[in-house]
Structure formats: C-alpha cells, structure tokens
C-alpha cells in the first residue's frame, strides 16, 4: 500500500507533522477561477443569498397533497400502478430502515391521504392532477413536478438524464459531480432546455415554455433553432410553435407567413437575456450541432435580439414589423455553408463572413468577430423597462463597443470564461478575455490580460505567446495587481521582466496559432 519512497508516520503525532508539511495546496489556476467566481457573485454587494443554496439542496416541497397517476401509456396503466405500489412498498420499507437516499432513480408522489414512492423506470410518465405534486431523483438530478405537470422520463442514465415536460412546472436541481460528463435535458413542445448550471424552473402552458434560473446557467434551444443562455436570476419564455408568421428578416424585409416561428418573441425578467439567431452556437457548450442551430435552407432566420430589462416586470418582444425598436441598420445577406447542417448552404441575413464557421470548437474566432448588424424588431416595452439591443451571443460582448458593459454583464462574462476553462475550452475563453481587456473597467482588464497570459502559458503551452502577453501586461499595467507575479513569470520564461517589446497584435489575436 505504501510506496517505498513515502514517509510512513508511526503514530498520530507523526501523521499530524506529515499533514502540516504536505498539506493540500490550491494551484494558481484553480485559485484564480474560484476568485473570479466569488467576485462575480459578490459584485455589487448584496444578493449572494440566492446562490447560497446548499449544493444539491433544492428546497423540496413536502410531497404534498395529491393523488398521483403514473403510467407509461393507457394500456400499461394497470401494470404500472401495480409495479408502483410494489415499488412504493419497498421504498417505504427501505426508507424506514435506511433513511432517505438519492441513490438510484426514484420518485415520490402523494396526496393528503396517501404518499407513494418507488424506483423510477425509463419511459415512466407522470400525469398530475390539479394540486398534486411529485418528486423525481435521478442521479444528481432532482425534479419537483407541480401545476398539473405531465412529464415523461426518457432516460434514467445518471450521466444523460432526459425528461419530456408536456405540461405544468418542473423545478430542477442539478449538481453534477463530474462536470462536462453529466447532462440533463428537458424537452418541451417548444424548446429543448439543456443544463449548463444548476437550479431552474421550466413551465409549459399554451403560450409556450418559460425557463427561470435561480442558480447557474441553462441553455435553451427554441424549436426554431434559437439558442439562449439563461443565467441565474433571469428567465426566458419561448412561445409555442405555431404557423403564424414571424418576420425576422433584415431591415424592413418581411417573411412570408409560412415561415417557421422563431423565438424572437421573448419575455425577459429583469436581466440580460439573449435570444439568439440560429447560427449562434453557444460558447459554453460546444456540443451544439449545426443542425440544431441552423434553419432549413431558404428560410428566413429570426432577428438576433437581446434585451436587458431594468425592472423585474416582463417585457415582451415580438416580430420585426412594428414601428418601434428599430435597433440596428439592415445587412446584406451572405451565403453560408456549414458542414452537417440541414441543407448544405443557406442564405442567412444573420451571418457575417466571420461567423460562418459556427461548428463546435471554432468559436474563438467566432466570438471575436466584429459586431454584426442586428435586426429591426417590434418592441412592446413595459414603461419601466430599459431595452438594449445587443448581439445574440450569450454574453452580447460584441455590443460592448457601443455601450459600456454593466457589472452584471461582466460578471456573466467571467462566469462563462470559468465554464469554458472548466470544460477545457481554453481557446474559446481567450476571445471573451480579449473583450474584457478592451471594454471592462480597468480592474477587470488587468485580471483578464493576466488570465489570458496565464491560460496561454499553462493550459495552451505557448511560452512565446505567453511571454509577449506578460510583457504587454507590464506595459499596460505598470501598477497592476499581478505585476510581481508577471515579472516572476517573465523571468522564468527567459525574458527581461521589463521593457520587453509588446506584441503588435496580442490583443487582436486570441486565436493565435500554437507556437511549439
């Protein structure tokens, strides 16, 4: 068990000495990542309590009054009921003996008169009557179903949980132990909700699908292909797909009534929200496929709209025909070809040439592309809301050149950088860091440049590029908070600590090629 070279303490005193000498140390990247998360969450003072929910500690309503119906189909209802009754019996016995457990997929439904629980099977369907509630536990996912919810369990694989919510509300908590390897997807009639972060609510009604996020980040893909990243404190509503026309063309162009409905109609509650164009691939999730992100050939695509509400009151945004809210000038359509997309070539008024390669893994350049023109849209603005048009990236970073980014946007940017780096997508994080270096307040610029240099050095292993970036740091931030560390690293990289010529385009080239 013990390696020959390992010191072997003989008693607890020696063990304590050993622990003191060889205590766990937090490495630089981890330290910086955690620091950014803490700062992002505490920025602006109060408001951290929302994030202080215990991990995995979604407040679970007592399985309340109800009489649940669980069936896979009508034909299987009777068998299902029998199986559930047996499972519930086992569940009670086990729970009585062992206490609550989250191991194995389980469910609980109940009423004022009875409560049932048991093991969850793939294909199970929950149809709750009015006032009923249910709870599901699958791996690290906990779902609380209410509001007459109708939910089907498509996959109970703890690493790939899939739920179909046809009606009602599901409140979900998802705290994966293996980030990037565990997935949760909620399919509704109008959207796919793929979880990047952790606690959120999905509500489905005749109007569409509403997603409210309490903690973390959720990626919502509308049926029409729009991609929206919804961060903590934000919510988005994706309207149910109908045959009604949604014109999303550039400028004053209207789309024929047969065009698919896009998710341009968006309800925003009090925070930055991006209703993306179909070409946009979420930077935080490279698994998005072009086929999901692109509309069929020849269709007009929805306008990229993003709105930041200054109040918690919902603002609604609908198609582009109305007179108000002409946000940006029109743009000439460009031809776009994306391998694997639906149809080899589409005409998209959304895309600028720099944005054509929206395949996974290519987004460093994609995110660094210049601000493309946005759309003309109708904005039904609530009197107390402030609407700002931004580019349909999840962070709307391209609009920062036009308006000073808010502290919330900057915090969201840091959050996404963390997400990308945690997933090992360092190249993609560089583009966001460059934006922060340009448009964020000086303290964030300082942090962003240092982080970019360190990422290039430690994660991407490009010492020459890193040296150039550290030199740039010395030049730009002669009193920067990382100056001492930067000088140390410059010396370690074989460069003079000061006076190194700065790279001509270090800030412009986040996607610089690897240097051996």
């Amino acid at each position: 068990m013990t390696s020959p070279a390992e010191k072997h303490p003989t008693d607890h005193e020696a063990l304590a000495d050993l622990l003191r000498d060889e205590g766990p140390h937090i490495d630089d990247l981890r330290r910086a990542r955690l620091e950014r998360r803490v700062i992002a969450r505490t920025r602006g003072g109060a408001g951290t309590s929302q994030e202080l929910l215990p991990v995995g500690g979604m407040p679970v309503a007592n399985v309340a009054p109800m009489r649940g119906r669980v069936s896979s189909s009508r034909g299987r209802m009777a068998m299902g009921a029998l199986a559930l009754a047996a499972a519930a019996l086992i569940g009670f016995v086990v729970r009585g003996a062992m206490g609550p457990s989250s191991d194995g997929p389980r469910f609980a439904i109940g009423s004022a008169f009875e409560t049932r629980e048991g093991t969850l099977a793939r294909g199970a369907r929950f149809d709750l009557a009015s006032g009923e509630e249910g709870r599901l536990e699958i791996g690290d996912v906990t779902a609380q179903l209410r509001d007459s919810g109708a939910l089907e369990v498509r996959s109970i694989d703890p690493n790939d949980v899939r739920l179909v919510l046809d009606r009602g509300t599901a409140e979900l908590a998802f705290h994966p132990h293996q980030r990037g390897r565990q997935h949760l997807r909620i399919v509704t009639p109008s959207a796919d909700v793929e979880v990047v972060g952790t606690i959120f609510t999905v509500h489905v009604d005749d109007a569409g699908t509403s997603v409210s996020v309490r903690e973390g980040t959720v990626r919502v893909t509308a049926r029409a292909g729009d991609v929206v990243l919804v961060h903590a404190g934000e919510s988005v509503t994706v309207p149910r797909v109908t045959t009604a026309a949604v014109s999303a063309a550039r400028g004053s162009t209207n789309v024929a009534s047969s065009a698919p409905v896009a998710s341009g109609s968006t309800v925003v509650s009090g925070a930055t929200l991006v209703s993306g164009a179909p070409d946009v691939v979420d930077s935080a999730d490279p698994t998005a496929t072009p086929s999901l992100a692109l509309a069929p050939s020849g269709t007009s695509l929805p306008a990229p709209l993003a709105f930041r509400g200054s109040s918690r009151t919902a603002s609604s945004v609908t198609g582009p025909n109305a007179p108000t809210g002409a946000l940006q000038p029109p743009v000439t359509p460009v031809q776009t070809s994306v391998p694997g997309a639906i149809g080899p070539t589409i005409t998209s008024p959304e895309l600028s040439p720099q944005q054509t390669a929206t395949t996974p893994g290519s987004s460093a350049s994609e995110l660094a592309s210049p601000l493309p023109p946005a759309a003309t849209a109708t904005v039904e603005e609530h009197p107390t809301s402030e609407l700002v048009a931004v580019h349909p990236r999840e962070l709307a970073v391209d609009s920062w050149a036009a308006h000073r980014p808010s502290s919330r946007e900057i915090a969201a940017a840091w959050h996404d950088i963390d997400e990308l780096q945690a997933r090992g997508q360092f190249e993609r994080s560089l583009a966001l860091l460059v934006r922060l270096e340009r448009y964020a307040p000086p303290s964030d610029q300082d942090e962003a440049l240092f982080d970019r240099a360190r990422t290039v050095q430690e994660a991407l292993r490009r010492p020459r590029s890193a040296r150039a970036l550290y030199s740039e740091y010395v030049r730009r931030f002669p009193e920067g908070r990382h100056l001492q560390e930067v000088r140390r690293r410059l010396v370690a990289l074989g460069a003079p600590a000061e006076g190194d010529p700065a790279p001509a385009s270090a800030a412009e080239a986040p996607e610089e090629p690897s240097v051996p």
Binding site: M1, T2, A14, L19, G23, T42, G44, T48, L52, R481
Partner: protein
Amino acid sequence: MRVAILERAGESAAPTEAEARVFERERLLRAAAGDDDAMRALYREHVDAVFRTACRVLGANDAEVDDVVQHTFLAAIDGAERFDGRSRLSTWLIGIATRRALDHARARHRRGRWSRLKEWVGLGGAEGTAERPDARLEGKSVADRALAELTPEQRVVFVLHQVEGHTLQEIADMTDTGISTLHARLGAARKRLDAFLARDSESSEGGAR
C-alpha cells in the same frame, strides 16, 4: 495581514491584535458592500486555509471542495454583519468552511448507507462514504488513507486541533460542539489513527519482504 494593515495605516508600528480585528471587520464589511478590492484581498488572504480545511474534511480530490470554498466566502459576505470581531476572521471563516464541508460529508454519509445496503444484499458495490471519502484509496498517500479511517467529525477535530493548531475552545465555537465531546472525538481519532498506522506499517513491511 500585517503588511496590509501597515500599508493602510502608513505606520511602522505593529498593529495591536485589537486593531487587526477592527481592520478585518471593516474590510469584511467593505467586501459585503460590493468593494471588489476588499473582496479580493479577503479571498487571497484566506483561501489557502479555507481550501485546506475543505480538503481535509472531504478529501483532497473531492469534487465538492470548490463548492465549499466558494460557498464559504459567499456565506461570509452574506453574514458579514454577524461577525463581531471577537474571534479572528480566519477562525470565523474556517468555522464556516468546516460546517459546510461537514454538511457535504454527512449528506454523502446518508447516501452511502443506501449503497452499503445494496452491497450487503449483493446488488452492487458500495460507493465512497463519509467515513471513507474516497473508497478507491489505492495509490493514495498514507496520510489520506489514515484520515479516511475517521468519521467526518473526528477528522475535523483532529485536523483543526492537531494539525492546524486551533484550541479546542476555538473548535467548539466553530462547530457548535461541546468541549467534552471534542475531547472524546479527539481521543477516538488518535486511537483509530494509531491503530491504522500500526496495521498499515505492518502490511507494508510484510509486502516489502
């Protein structure tokens, strides 16, 4: 800490303990009010101790360590008004980290009971439990394996007292536990560790032969 105080005051005289605590409290309140620099300074000064505490309660490679560290600072900011300066800020933060880490460890312990039942009835292997933060201890250092022998509560008192040097009174304040209970846990922890180390030493010597 001392450097920061000197910089602030611009004086060469060493600050008294009371001055240091007042400054700590002021900085905590500034951080809670949204002062980024205060928050960064607070984080940078204490993150090592908080991280070390979380690692020792949960296991160094535990995926929840980052959550505990993060939540510790957020909880400190949220409860800044409750910090009265009677103890050092570091002690207060380690207390928060300890309680958070213990919550995680206990939750895992509860989940582990179900796994152990499954294992007992032959329905699968047990997962890591709170007593054994990493069930796959092959290749771990002897220190990790030794700490894994302890319950989370025993681990806390052993690490905080024996390794980090906190007094039992401080640990009692951190964990809301009586001193006599802590004494008992510490004694049990030492016994368990001594027994494990003796066993491990014998087995490694036997393996070497």
